[in-house]
Amino acid sequence: MIVVNDIYKSFGAVRAVRGVSFAAPDGKITGLLGPNGAGKSTTLRVLYTVMKPDRGSAMIDGVDVVADSLAARRRIGALPHGAGLYPHLSARENIAYYASICGLEKGHIDDKVESIVELLEISDFADRRTKGFSQGQRTKVALARALVHDPQNIILDEPSNGLDVMATRSLRELILKLRDAGRCVLFSSHVMQEVAALCDDIVIIASGRVAIDDTADGIRNRTGCDDLEDAFVRAIHMVGLE
C-alpha cells in the first residue's frame, strides 16, 4: 500500500512536482499516466527514496519514506527508468547481487534466483554476461533483480519503454500475476493504451499536479469522452486551465 500525501519537489527554478496526492492499494495495479516531463519520475523517485520531497509525505505500508527510508526501501522493489545492469556479470549474478544486498540468506539465494529466473522466463540467457543484451532482456533482468526480495510494493518507471510486442505482453502478464498475488503495483507510462489495458486505477499527472484520479470508466464519465485518449488530453487541459 502506497499513500502519497501532497508532495512538492523543485529543482532550482523547475517545479517538477506541485502537490501530488494519491493512494495505490494492495492487490491493485495503479497507473501513473502523464506526458513527458509531467513529474511522474520525480514522484516515483520520492517513493523509492532516492529523493526527498520538499514538502508533503509519502508512506509505504505505513512507513514514512523520509523518516525511515531504510525500512521503506525494504518494502519496495523498484525499477527506475532506464535501469542498467553490470555488463561483466551474468544475468544470474546481477540478480544474486541484489538478493544478497537485500539480506537473503546465503544458502537461500540460489533457489530464490532460480525461481525468479523461471518466473520471468529468462533461463535462456540467465548465465550469459549481460553485455550486449537487448533492451527487452535487460528490462527483464532488471525487473527480476527488483523482485528478488519479494517486495510487497512494486514501483516501475516506464517499464515498457523500448520493448517489442512480445516483451510488452509478457511484462503485462507478469504485472497481472503480481497483482493477483496481492501486491501493490504502481507503474508510470505515457502510453494511454497500455495503462487502460492494465490498470485498475489511473492517476493522470500533468505539470506536476494530479489532473484526475479514477478508474478507466470513471475517467470516461468525468471527462465526457468515450475514447480514453481524448479523455487523457482533456484531463491534461483541465490542469492547464487552472
Binding site: T49, V50, L89, Y97, I101
Partner: protein
C-alpha cells in the same frame, strides 16, 4: 558490515572481469615505472661514459694556421674535421644546430703566438643548448690545456719552474657513497610507486561512481534496503585492494628490473633488497586510502566516464607536486614534511634506498597522518554520497 563485504566482493569480481581495469592495474601501472626507469638509467649511463673515453668530432676552421694545436687536440681524442667555409657560415651552422661547436683559428694565430702576445682562438657554441654545451666544454677544456702546456714551455725556456704559476693544488674529494648517489636518481622511484598505486584503482573509482551512474545501475542500487555509507565503503574498499595489488606488483617489478640495470657503472648501489621491498610496501600502503578516497571523491562529482577520466589524470599528477617542490629546493627531510602525504613516503623511501638510518618517529608520523587524512577523505566521500545530486 555484511553488506559492505557483499558490495566489496562484487566490485572486485566485476572489475577483475574488466580488461581495461586489469590492464591499467596489473600491467600499465606496475610496468610503466620500471620501463621508463630503465630507459632513463641507460641513457644517463651512455652519456656519462661517452665523455673523454670516446672520441668526438670537432669542426675547426684554419687548421693550416695551427698544425701543433691540431696534433694536440687529436691526442686528446678529438677528431678534427674541416669546419664550414668561414666564420659567418660557422655561426650560422651553430645557430641552426647543424654543428654543436666550431673552433676558429684566425690567420694571424701563428704570428701572435711567435710574438708572445695572447693568440686569439674563437670557440662558437650555443650555451643555451645543454646537449651541445657538453661538447663545447670538452673543446674548451682541451684548448685551455693546450694554453697551459704552452705557458709551461715558455716558463721552462726562461728558466722558471711552471709550478710558480700553480700556487694552489685543488683536489676534489667526493664523500658520497655509492648508495647515496643512487638516492638522487632513485628518488624518482617513489613517484612511480604512487603512480602505479593510483593507476591500479583509477578505473574502479570511475566505474563505481560515474560509470555506475552513466550505466543507469546507480539508481536501482540506491533504491535497495541498504545505507549509502555501506555502498560507498564497500566500493572504496574494493578500490583499495586493486591499488594495493598494483603497488605490490610495481615494487616487485622494480626489484627485478633493478637487478638488470648496470648501476656499478654509474657508481651506485641502490639498497633495494627483499626486506626493503616489504618495508616500502608498508610505508606506501597508508597512501592507498588517500588515493582511493580522493579518486572516488573526484569521480563522484563528474557526469560521465570520460569526464571522470580527464579529472583523474590530474589526480595522478598531483602527488608529484610536493616531491617536486622539495627536490627543486633540495630540502633535507624534516619532521614537518612527515605530515604531507606522498612527500613523507618519498623521503622515507629515499632514505631506505640510500641505506641511511630511517627515523622511526618519522615513519610513525607519516603512517599516522596519512591514514588520518585518508580516513577523513573517506568520511567526506560517504557524506557526499548521501546527496541527491549524485543521480545527476
Amino acid at each position: 558490515m555484511r553488506t559492505l563485504l557483499i558490495v566489496f566482493a562484487k566490485e572486485v569480481l566485476d572489475n577483475f572481469r574488466d580488461r581495461r581495469t586489469l590492464i591499467s592495474a596489473l600491467v600499465m601501472g606496475p610496468l610503466f615505472g620500471p620501463i621508463l626507469f630503465a630507459f632513463v638509467i641507460n641513457l644517463s649511463i651512455e652519456r656519462s661514459l661517452s665523455d673523454a673515453d670516446q672520441s668526438m668530432e670537432l669542426s675547426l676552421i684554419g687548421a693550416e694556421h695551427a698544425p701543433n694545436l691540431v696534433r694536440f687536440l687529436e691526442s686528446r681524442n678529438l677528431d678534427i674535421v674541416a669546419g664550414p667555409a668561414g666564420r659567418d657560415a660557422a655561426i650560422a651552422a651553430v645557430k641552426a644546430g647543424t654543428l654543436d661547436v666550431v673552433v676558429v683559428v684566425p690567420g694571424e694565430f701563428g704570428a701572435q703566438l711567435a710574438d708572445g702576445i695572447p693568440a686569439k682562438i674563437e670557440l662558437i657554441s650555443d650555451q643555451a643548448n645543454t646537449q651541445a654545451e657538453r661538447d663545447a666544454r670538452r673543446a674548451r677544456d682541451a684548448l685551455r690545456a693546450y694554453g697551459q702546456e704552452l705557458a709551461a714551455i715558455r716558463l721552462v725556456a726562461r728558466g722558471v719552474s711552471p709550478l710558480v704559476v700553480r700556487p694552489i693544488d685543488l683536489d676534489d674529494i667526493d664523500v658520497s657513497t655509492p648508495s647515496g648517489r643512487s638516492g638522487i636518481l632513485l628518488g624518482m622511484m617513489s613517484y612511480f610507486f604512487i603512480f602505479a598505486l593510483l593507476m591500479g584503482g583509477m578505473y574502479l573509482a570511475i566505474d563505481t561512481t560515474a560509470g555506475e551512474r552513466e550505466r543507469g545501475s546507480l539508481e536501482p542500487l540506491l533504491a535497495l534496503p541498504v545505507t549509502r555509507d555501506q555502498l560507498m565503503l564497500g566500493k572504496i574498499a574494493a578500490t583499495c585492494v586493486f591499488m594495493a595489488l598494483s603497488l605490490l606488483l610495481s615494487l616487485c617489478s622494480f626489484y627485478v628490473a633493478l637487478k638488470f640495470m648496470p648501476f656499478e657503472q654509474l657508481g651506485m648501489t641502490p639498497n633495494f633488497g627483499p626486506s626493503v621491498v616489504v618495508a616500502a610496501f608498508f610505508i606506501l600502503a597508508p597512501f592507498i586510502l588517500i588515493g582511493a578516497s580522493v579518486m572516488t571523491l573526484v569521480a563522484s562529482f563528474t557526469k560521465s566516464y570520460k569526464e571522470a577520466q580527464t579529472w583523474l589524470s590530474i589526480v595522478l599528477i598531483a602527488p608529484t607536486l610536493p616531491i617536486l617542490i622539495v627536490s627543486i629546493l633540495t630540502l633535507r627531510p624534516q619532521f614537518e614534511f612527515m605530515f604531507v602525504p606522498s612527500l613523507s613516503q618519498h623521503l622515507l623511501l629515499v632514505d631506505m634506498v640510500k641505506n641511511e638510518p630511517v627515523n622511526m618517529l618519522h615513519v610513525a608520523v607519516s603512517v599516522g597522518s596519512t591514514l588520518a587524512i585518508g580516513a577523513l577523505l573517506t568520511w567526506i566521500c560517504a557524506r557526499l554520497y548521501r546527496r541527491e545530486g549524485l543521480l545527476g
